[in-house]
Amino acid sequence: MSDKILEAINIYKEFHDPVTVAVLQDINFSINKSEFVAVTGKSGCGKSTLLYILSTMDTDYKGELFIDNEPMKNKKEAQLAAIRNQKIGFVFQFHYLLNEFTVLQNVMLPGLKLNKYSAKEVEHRAMEKLTMLGIEKLALKNANRVSGGEKQRVAIARALINDPVIIMGDEPTGNLDKKNSEIVFDIFKRLAEEFKQTLLIVTHDEGFAKKTNRIIEMEDGRIIN
């Protein structure tokens, strides 16, 4: 099992404001299928910046990026959006649920956007994901009526709805207490082991990082380990 899911070659990025500073240099690494990778480093070392480049949302960089062996350079905004929709699941520090929708609708949204399955099937799949994460009871509640820990689990269900090739997380436990952090970590662990899900999680939580299969450590815009 050494299919490359994600490969970064010579990624370089600089910020121009107020003075030109290179924030990422010589970033070369790849992630294989079903790896559970943590990116760690001190605050400001560029790990989040790297994640947003890898997520295709930030396109202002030099170097090359392959997701699922497909080059991401020179793609149009709409094409990148379609790739994010189909191949990448996101879990952020903040849950970003749409308050106007129920939990179930929030999970269904990317699925409906993909438009691969009928609305009925998407609903069924969304319920499956919610059941898997143990929050099926919340399905019909409004998104702003559930607790913080539960919201993060809803966000994970939403990330899973289109069976992405990789799940990316930006400090997914950063806003949670210890107990909820553990729940979220256990979910990730389970996804990696049971479902062979590839995960790339940015965190500064050493404890969290240590429990993953692989740690990429960053300092001053470079990978040091």
């Binding site: 930030d58 929709n85 996101f90 520090q93 929708f101 949204l109 939403r158």
Partner: protein, 419 residues
């Protein structure tokens, strides 16, 4: 493209801020209903004012003008034919006012497909005798039926009936002002003196009022036969033919053709009453300008509300983009929001406009100069509603376009990292 999903999202965003949405929609409703009402009322008023003169004005009037003969003998002589001849002290010649061969002209008009109808007329200047006082006036000899059906003659009769002109021999219908001056009422006899000095008694069978004071003070109507009798002419004697066309726009061209064909003078409605068209045009222009201004103001309302909504929904937009909605999708969502405000606001506005017009249509409006008008005039024209609907959609689309573009350009990285 999954429009159903976009519509669903747009609907949820709309309903989440339903109070603001309502305010925006009411703005559109208000402006559309005012637009419709204003145009209907203004056009109604235009029609009324134009009708005051134009209803009674023939599209083409055929007559003989008293004027000097254009063909002077000196121009025909071989010697001076090619010269430019100045002739002084020329007098109007013996042209008669009578239309020659009137029966043939009428027959030709009857066969002309472009003509809706015609009414022959005799124009006879007379004096109305009131004791020792003579009041100058005019008797119009008319065919009552043709005059009524093509030139609304019946509408202006305020006492008596038009048909009595035919039933009662030697009868006359006086203008209101003229009747007052003569102290004449229905059933009275008035004496007239023709320009040839003949005296004749006529029986008053009705009184008319057009709303134009000078006209009502000098004019009167009698049947053609009566006037022929008064003037001592034969039954073919007429001085005017009033023609009503199917298409009023052809009047100037046709007038020229008739003048040439019948060797008569022809005056068309455009030349005779060009000031009315200018007035109507400017009033309509003002109504449109006011209506569109109202809509633009409503458009700014929508623009504000969408901008605010986008500011509030930054997070939602960011996550939509992160999970695979393209900038285009986001733009469509906000355009849908703007258009649905325009659509529903506009629809209700059209209905409200119709309602308001109907209410104005019921408000009493009586004025001495307009005997046929009882309520404020409203012109119901489906075109106004089509224009209103189109404008409501166009303005809301434009108002939504800039905020939508802004939403589509939101960078999710900045929003998400900013937390």
């Amino acid at each position: 493209m999954n429009y159903k999903l976009l519509i669903n999202i747009a609907k949820s965003l709309l309903l989440a801020r339903w109070k603001q949405t309502l305010v925006a929609a009411i703005g559109v409703t208000f402006s559309i209903s005012m637009f419709i009402t204003l145009l209907s009322f203004m056009t109604g008023l235009n029609d009324l004012l134009d009708g005051l003169i134009l209803n009674r004005t023939p599209h083409i009037r055929l007559y003989n003008e008293i004027k000097p003969n254009k063909d002077q003998p000196v121009n025909s002589t071989a010697e001076y034919k090619d010269h430019y001849n100045f002739i002084r002290s020329l007098k109007s010649g013996g042209t008669r006012q009578e239309i020659y061969n009137s029966a043939a002209v009428l027959q030709a008009l009857k066969n002309d497909q472009r003509v809706l109808g015609y009414a022959p007329k005799i124009f006879a200047p007379v004096f109305f005798n009131d004791g020792s006082i003579n009041i100058a006036g005019v008797i119009n000899g008319i065919e009552v039926d043709a005059e009524s059906s093509y030139f609304h003659f019946k509408d202006y009769i305020i006492e008596g009936t038009a048909a009595d002109l035919n039933k009662v021999s030697n009868s006359i219908i006086l203008g209101k002002g003229l009747a007052a001056n003569l102290l004449a009422d229905i059933g009275d006899i008035v004496q007239i003196t023709t320009s040839q000095g003949e005296q004749f008694p006529l029986k008053v069978v009705g009184i008319f009022q057009t709303g134009i004071q000078d006209f009502d003070k000098a004019q009167s109507y009698a049947s053609i036969v009566s006037v022929q009798k008064v003037l001592g002419k034969t039954s073919t004697y007429i001085t005017d033919i009033q023609v009503k066309l199917k298409d009023v726009k052809t009047a100037p061209a046709l007038a020229l053709a008739y003048a040439d064909l019948f060797h008569l003078d022809a005056l068309d409605i455009k030349t005779a009453n060009s000031q009315f068209e200018t007035g109507s045009f400017i009033r309509t222009l003002i109504s449109y300008a006011v209506g569109i201004t109202l809509l633009i103001v409503a458009g700014f309302g929508i623009y504000n509300i969408l901008n605010m909504m986008i500011f509030e929904k930054m997070d939602s937009i960011a996550i939509l983009k992160a999970t695979g909605f393209s900038g285009k999708d986001v733009k469509r969502i906000f355009l849908l929001i703007a258009l649905s405000i325009g659509f529903f606001g506009g629809m209700i506005g059209l209905l409200a406009g119709l309602g308001l017009s109907a209410v104005i249509d019921q408000i009493p409006f009586t004025t001495a100069s307009l005997p046929t008008v009882k309520t404020y005039p409203i012109h119901y024209n489906p075109l106004f509603y089509v224009i209103g609907a189109a404008f409501s959609l166009i303005t809301t689309y434009l108002a939504g376009w800039f905020p939508s573009r802004k939403a589509s350009k939101i960078d999710p990285v900045i929003i998400i990292r900013g937390k």
